[in-house]
Amino acid sequence: MLAVDGVSKRFGGLMAVDGASLALEPGGIVGLIGPNGAGKTTLFSMISGFVPPSDGRIRFEGTDITAEEPHRRAERGIGRTFQIVQPFAGLTVCENIAVGAYLRHAKRADATARAREVARRVGLAAELDRPAGGLTVAGRKRLELARALATEPKLLLLDEVLAGLNPSEIRDIIPVIRGIRDEGVTILMIEHVMQAVMNLCERVYVLAQGRMIAEGPPAAVCADPRVIEAYLGHGAAARLKAEGAAHG
């Protein structure tokens, strides 16, 4: 459904993303992990159309969307959340979600009904009439999710929706994400909370210094020496192995 083909982004002398490729089949949750500064969010911004790639192509359901505006991609069914939450602070929670719902429902009553339904699903039903600016961090993360969901996406890009949440809040939101997948939405998520990645993702891609260095089931990827070195530094994999052997 989504094919990212050798995409690069250069910011001046810095290669933020360097020839990264990934391919998603419909359905399922795929993770995108990697150390800080690996270029994950830049890659997301290129997929959602906020940053034009310096090189490479992006196809969605067979159509080349590399040069399309973000709102056109949203119409096609690519929804995204922002790592730094971007609520419409002056509006209520319901009005925030309704902006997303208006994409597929032109009438106010329909859009509002849809917004209420989405709010219930992500656990914001009690906050509907509160101003979005007054939500807690966890509430804002849920709001990001709800707004994106209200656009009825086929592909949902989640940029660290769990970051900044405490363990019990994470436990609460994991079933919500799983529920979205069960309804047939394909999910690509950037995540640092490994417990959640292991729990949710069928497959993960690992991005390090702009390059895609590994891909596969989470457990296999986490054991991959290249991935361990990307996180812990050169030689770390060998050292860990040696220590493991000594203790074993």
Binding site: S48, F50, A74, F88, A89, L103, A106, R147, A148
Partner: protein, 332 residues
């Protein structure tokens, strides 16, 4: 829109329509007409600035375009004044769209957009002052020919009712914007443009629609000004005084609200007029009042007069609720 959305507009319009039956003095009617014209132009500003968050410092560009369009159409082409009204509104919308296209497409926001609008208004003023087509510095005089077909009425009250009807129509338009998909998207762009785009909002299209509507409404007010006072020159039509009036009224009344611009225009001009009555010998006393009211509004009434009233009402309700609780505690 529901009945609850429409009733306040209907009630206020009917009440305002009864005024000329009570007040018959011409200076007062002149004042009311002028104030309503400013309110109408301010309503135009509010669509773009209040709902869209794109603050314009140069709405004179639209006001003047409306005024000049109707004057030139009547004087040079013999177009009927009523048709001039419609065409002037369309001209304002077109100028709005063009300015919007140039500035929004190149991504101008915030103070940059404000400066560009100011520049456009100034360029128009200088051009209108220089070109013979627009009457140059001498300005344009619309021929006095009192007849309803010429949009000139023997009774000032008729013109007052006409302007009032248009103000009411724009109140309805604004209420519709507030309740529509277009309005939700416009407000979303104001609050956070990137987030809006991610939700499928075509922000350029939404902003262009807003500035075209805004330009049209403000041009309509300029057209009425020309039609009522029958004389314009570049410094009246494209002068910065009107840009300032049109943005002050919504900011003081309540930016991004349906009634804000009308409340603001009424307050400003009401206070200005009172000040002139008491201290008319001091030139520019009304401007001093405007400045003072602006400072007070910015310092103490974020969200303008309407925002202040809402806060007071909420506090009042809170007190009533607390009071009820205490009573019920005492009863136990």
């Amino acid at each position: 829109m529901t009945a609850r959305d429409l009733i306040p507009i209907a009630v206020l319009t009917v009440l305002a329509a009864l005024l000329p039956l009570v007040v018959t003095s011409s200076p007062v009617l002149n004042f009311l007409v002028f104030m309503l014209i400013v309110a109408l132009g301010a309503q135009g500003w509010n669509i773009l600035g209040g709902f869209g968050g794109q603050f314009s410092f140069g709405h004179a560009a639209f006001f003047g375009t409306g005024a000049y369009a109707t004057a030139i159409l009547q004087l040079r082409y013999g177009v009927n004044a009523w048709a001039g009204l419609v065409l002037a509104t369309a001209a304002g919308a077109a100028v709005g769209w063009a300015i919007g296209f140039l500035s929004f497409r190149s991504g101008l926001r915030g103070s940059y957009f404000a400066l560009v609008t100011l520049a456009f208004a100034e360029v128009f003023r200088i051009l209108a002052n220089a070109a013979s087509f627009t009457g140059g510095a001498a300005g344009l005089l619309i021929k006095l020919d009192v007849h309803p077909a010429n949009l000139q009425f023997a009774d000032r009250a008729v013109f007052y009712w006409l302007v009032l009807a248009l103000v009411a129509a724009v109140l309805l338009l604004t209420r519709w914007i507030q309740r529509s998909r277009f309005g939700a998207q416009l407000v979303a762009v104001r609050e956070n443009e990137d987030a809006a785009k991610a939700l499928g909002v075509d922000s350029l299209k939404v902003k262009l629609r807003a500035i075209a509507l805004s330009g049209g409404v403000t041009a309509l007010s300029g057209c009425l000004y020309a039609q009522y006072f029958l004389y314009i020159d570049a410094n009246i039509a494209y002068g910065s005084w009107i840009s300032v009036e049109l943005l002050l009224a919504p900011i003081i009344g309540g930016v991004g609200t349906v009634f804000g611009p009308v409340v603001g225009a009424l307050t400003l001009h009401g206070l200005g007029e009172v000040a002139k009555q008491f201290a008319g010998r001091i030139p520019g006393i009304d401007l001093i009042v405007f400045g003072t009211v602006l400072v007070l509004a910015v310092a103490f009434a974020r969200g303008g007069i309407l925002g202040l009233l809402e806060r007071l009402r909420d506090r009042g309700r809170g007190m009533v609720a607390r009071g009820a609780k205490e009573v019920s505690h005492a009863g136990r």
